[in-house]
Symmetry: C2
Subunit: 342 residues, 2 copies
């Protein structure tokens, strides 16, 4: 083991190092490390031994360039602090696990410009597919995705035009269904509490569907309240208080997500308000958190795990025969919980 002069022990290793250490060509080493092509058992062992001894870590950059194959899937989501996206991610990871593909996450903070940048950055790594939350993107983003020549799956929402494939639920329909259930339960003075973010299109669509169903029943929203930022639980309390103060005869509160709904529920219970008698409550998402609440909040699950799974399956090409352009609509189920009369 003589070291040539100027030998740098910390220089990063290449196939050549392993090749020299094991006395075979670089190509053979490459074959061994990728389990591709025929290699005799003896050489295989010798190579693996040498690679392990040296601590060789292959350079995927070079590999990807040479093979024109990248085992990455870009996943673009608006936020991680939402609990809903981590769950989608779990679905994606689980499904991708045994396909050799690996998800790479990018976060946009609900900014279309940021999304454009993230998509550009990701595409520049030439991933095998892209999963992007939502259907609303800048023209440039859509163009890039369409041009990329890889499978694109837009998730969460199906109310709109997809670039390629889409997996999600109809938020408009979800809002409508919830409104129908609320009306059927006899509530009439219905108010809404939700996020103010101009780019939360899915919340917007739920509200649209909701109001649509109200209108069909000859009703309009009795009141509405918006927020942005801060602790959702706390905001839920504050908004609930504000609405009930301003419009005391409200008998139902529809929240755009479960966290603020939970805040509202806690506030009502503290104030001794009869839920769901005097006032009914409902949220959206079906977050696990709700299980620990004093009363189960009415909600509608967004099929997050399933969305992640299906999206990943499309990318992994498990939907044989389909070229692309699939749209999969999942149907969320209404969970009435204990905060809606029946």
């Amino acid at each position: 083991m003589t070291k040539p002069p100027g030998f740098d022990p910390r220089r990063t290793l290449t196939l050549r190092d392993v090749s020299e250490a094991s006395g075979v060509s670089e190509m053979t080493v490459s074959r061994v490390l990728r389990n591709r092509g025929d290699v005799s058992e003896a050489t295989r062992e010798r190579v693996l031994e040498a690679a392990r001894a040296l601590g060789y870590v292959p350079n995927k950059i070079a590999g990807a360039l040479a093979s024109q194959r990248v085992n990455l899937v870009g996943v673009v989501i608006p936020s991680l602090s939402n609990m809903v996206f981590p769950e989608v991610l779990t679905g994606i990871s689980d499904t991708l696990e045994d396909t050799g593909l690996q998800p790479v996450v990018g976060v946009t903070n609900y900014s279309p410009e940021r999304e454009e940048t993230v998509i550009y950055e990701m595409l520049s790594w030439r991933p095998s597919g892209m999963i992007v939350a939502g259907l609303e993107h800048t023209d440039a983003s859509r163009a890039m995705l369409a041009q990329a020549g890889i499978p694109i799956v837009e998730i969460m929402d199906i109310d709109g035009q997809a670039v390629d494939s889409a997996v999600g639920i109809s938020h408009r329909r979800a809002g409508r269904q919830m409104a129908e259930a609320i009306i059927a339960a006899g509530y009439r003075r219905i108010a809404f509490c939700g996020t103010m973010m101009p780019y939360d299109h899915r919340a917007r669509k739920r509200l649209e569907g909701f109001e649509e169903a109200l209108a069909k029943a000859g009703l309009t929203l009795a009141d509405r309240e918006f927020y942005s930022g801060g602790s959702a639980l706390l905001k839920g309390r504050e908004m609930t208080e504000a609405v009930l103060k301003r419009t005391p005869d409200v008998d139902f509160l529809y929240y755009s997500n479960d966290m603020i709904g939970a805040g509202g529920l806690l506030w009502c219970l503290e104030k001794g308000i009869d839920v769901p008698g005097r006032i009914g409550l409902a949220g959206f998402n079906g977050v696990e958190l709700l299980d620990g609440l004093p009363r189960r909040l009415a909600t509608m699950d967004a099929c997050r795990l399933e969305i992640g799974r299906r999206a990943a399956e499309i990318i992994a090409g498990k939907h044989d025969g389909v070229i692309g352009g699939e749209v999969i609509e999942l149907t969320p189920t209404l969970q009435p919980g204990d905060t809606i009369r029946r």
Copy 2:
């Protein structure tokens, strides 16, 4: 604009395409797109125009291979469903934002083997640095990190031996401090509720520090209860009930995280138990969620944002002059809230 026969409009574009479209060499195009070297304003515009018109997206794989530079920072964390790691990530992203570096996240699910794989995969993309949660890794993981020749920052914890740099708090000390505060407040029959995961080293260290301080005061844990999986809020309720049933004279419950603490708090309030008179409660982390609870749970923040920031700064080389091997200990502050007598 004649297309040669066999022209594939969806073939992914290369520098050459832009070069031909704008009538300059590939090198000049490369310079324009990277803003490097002198290029006349006229050509610059022409090139940018051509690139935009074609929808060219550079191939970072090729670029990285040629320049031996990759603008990625690997971030390896155990979980995303914890709320604490997303916050660390925010700190990292914010700081990396204007350095041209980009975080890439890998999740290990608290499995050392999975962590080893994730680290291997990440290193094979030759990132500019790695941020890894925790100090406990397999020997192979440590060896790979040490050999990689890039800055490595282990975060969250500093009770142990770091491969290179470390940023975090002493969980042992945090546990000790909490115990001291509890004892000082006059509680004596103290129980613990926490995660059972064998690989949550930080929770383990907190408990060790906690028991150590108890011992110093001549006390031992009155009871203990562990859980794994499921809704943390719900588990908090269940464990609290179980402990109080089994050991009715317990007068303080120390939870290994805020979520189960919150569950315990809700349960106690529902049962009409006097908190913090009859029984005191404390958690760990300082999660935003707590702001919306009926009473503020005593806790200790883990400096998550700050940890992310500092780690990113080290990677970005903002700590001039220091070669590596820095250990930054942050000091969490005790937030007594309303669930501990005073």
